[in-house]
Symmetry: C2
C-alpha cells in the first residue's frame, strides 16, 4: 500500500513528524501537496462532502480507505504497523504520551512568533512575540527539555522508551533541530544541560534512512513560514 | 479496580475531561488531590525517581500499576475499557482525532487570557489578552465549532461518531459549557449557528450519571483559575 500524505508544500511544519516516521519505516508514500496541483487536490479533498472522517486541518494521511488526521494520531496509527512503537498497551500509551507532550511543545514554539493570532503576520504581533519568546526561552523550553532529559535518564536505554527507537524519538530529533534553527544562541547555551537529548538527536540523524532523507530534496529546509522560525530579534 | 485521578483540586481544567468519562462510565475513582493532603501527594508522586512513565504535568491517572498522563491519552485508554469508544481501529482513531482537535481548542481557549505566559497573572497580559480573545471569538472558535457542527451533520447520528456516545461527546459538552461560562454574550450569538452541537450538549447533560455528577459537589464550579474564565472585558 502506498500512503498519501497531505500537508502544505512549502514547510516542514507538523507534517515533518509524519514524514520522519514514514522515512524511517521505509514506507512508500506520496507527498501529495508537493506534486503539481497537489495543494488544490488537498483542499478539494477537505471540501468533499463524502469524506466520512473529516480532518480539521492538515496534516492527514490516506492509508487505503482510511483518512487519519492529527499528527500524534497519525503516528499512533503508523507506530505499531511499522515497528515504531511497542506492541503492548502500556508501552504504546507511554510513547503516545511522550508524543502528546512534544505536540504541546510544538504549539508553544509556534506561538512564540504568533502569540496573538495565527491569521496575522508576525510583523503585526512582534512586540507580543518578544515578550512571549522571552518567557518561552526562560521557562517553558527548559521545562520541556528538562523533562525529556529526565525521561532519558530513566528509560534504561538511549531512546525515550528504552533500547528501541520509537516515533517519539524521531519527533524529539525534530524538536532539537528546530530549536537550533530558530534560537541558535539560546540553544547553544541550553544544550549543555541536555547531553542525552543531544546524543539522541545525533543517533537519529545517523540512522541510514533518516540520513538519506535529510540529505535529499524531500527534506524541506527550515524557513520563516513554518513552526520553527529564525528571527534574530527573538533569539536572546 | 479503583482508579486514582491526579489533578489540581481547585479547578475543572483538563482534569474535567477525564472526570466526565469516569462519571459516565460509572467507574470507581478517587480524585486524589481533592482529599486532605492530596495535592502534596500528587507532587510527591511526580517527584519520585522510581516512576517509570513520568508525567510532564497533571492530569494523570493511576490504573493499577499503570500511570497514564496527557488528557487525550487517558481517554484513549479509558474509551475501550468502558464502552466510550468504538472497538475497531478506524473508529478508535476517529474518536481520538476528534479529541485531539478538542485539545487544540482547549489550548486556544486558555491562551485567550494567557497569551504571553502561563506563569504570569492575567492582569500582567490583559492588553494582549484582549487582542488574542478578539481573534479567538471572531475566527478561531467559529472555525472549531463550525467543524464539529459539520462532523455532526455527517455522523449519521446525534453523536460525533454516530449513534453511540463516545468520550469525544463528553468533551464537546464541556467545551460548550465552558464557552458559555467564559463568553456568555459571544456564545449566545454564536450558538444559533450550532443547533447540533447544542443538542448534543443537552443530550449529554441529561444522561443520568452526568446529570447526577453535575448536580453533585464533585463538579467544581467554573472559576477564574481554570481554562474557561469569565472576564467581562474579554466577552465582546
Amino acid at each position: 500500500m502506498r500512503y498519501e500524505l497531505y500537508y502544505w508544500a512549502g514547510i516542514q511544519g507538523r507534517g515533518e513528524f509524519v514524514r520522519l516516521a514514514l522515512e524511517e519505516a521505509g514506507a512508500e508514500y506520496l507527498d501529495v501537496a508537493r506534486q503539481a496541483g497537489g495543494e488544490e487536490q488537498m483542499m478539494r479533498l477537505l471540501g468533499r462532502p463524502s469524506v466520512e472522517h473529516l480532518p480539521f486541518a492538515p496534516p492527514f494521511l490516506k492509508a487505503g480507505e482510511l483518512i487519519i488526521a492529527q499528527t500524534a494520531n497519525i503516528l499512533l496509527y503508523l507506530g505499531p504497523h511499522h515497528g515504531l512503537a511497542p506492541a503492548d498497551e502500556a508501552g504504546r500509551l507511554w510513547v503516545h504520551q511522550l508524543q502528546l507532550t512534544i505536540a504541546d511543545f510544538v504549539v508553544e514554539a509556534h506561538d512564540t512568533h504568533h502569540p496573538i493570532a495565527s491569521g496575522l503576520y508576525y510583523e503585526d504581533q512582534k512586540k507580543e512575540a518578544k515578550r512571549r519568546t522571552a518567557d518561552f526561552l526562560k521557562n517553558r523550553a527548559p521545562k520541556y527539555f528538562g523533562y525529556f532529559e529526565e525521561v532519558l535518564v530513566r528509560s534504561g536505554g538511549k531512546h525515550l522508551a528504552g533500547r528501541r527507537l520509537t516515533y517519539a524519538d524521531l519527533s524529539l530529533f525534530q524538536i532539537v533541530a528546530g530549536m537550533r534553527y530558530a534560537f541558535p544562541k539560546a540553544m547553544a547555551k541550553h544544550e549543555k544541560k541536555l547531553p542525552r537529548a543531544v546524543a539522541l538527536h545525533d543517533l537519529v540523524a545517523k540512522r541510514p534512512r533518516i540520513a538519506a532523507y535529510l540529505a535529499s530534496e524531500r527534506r524541506i529546509p527550515f524557513n520563516e513560514y513554518g513552526i520553527f522560525r529564525h528571527y534574530k530579534e527573538l533569539d536572546a
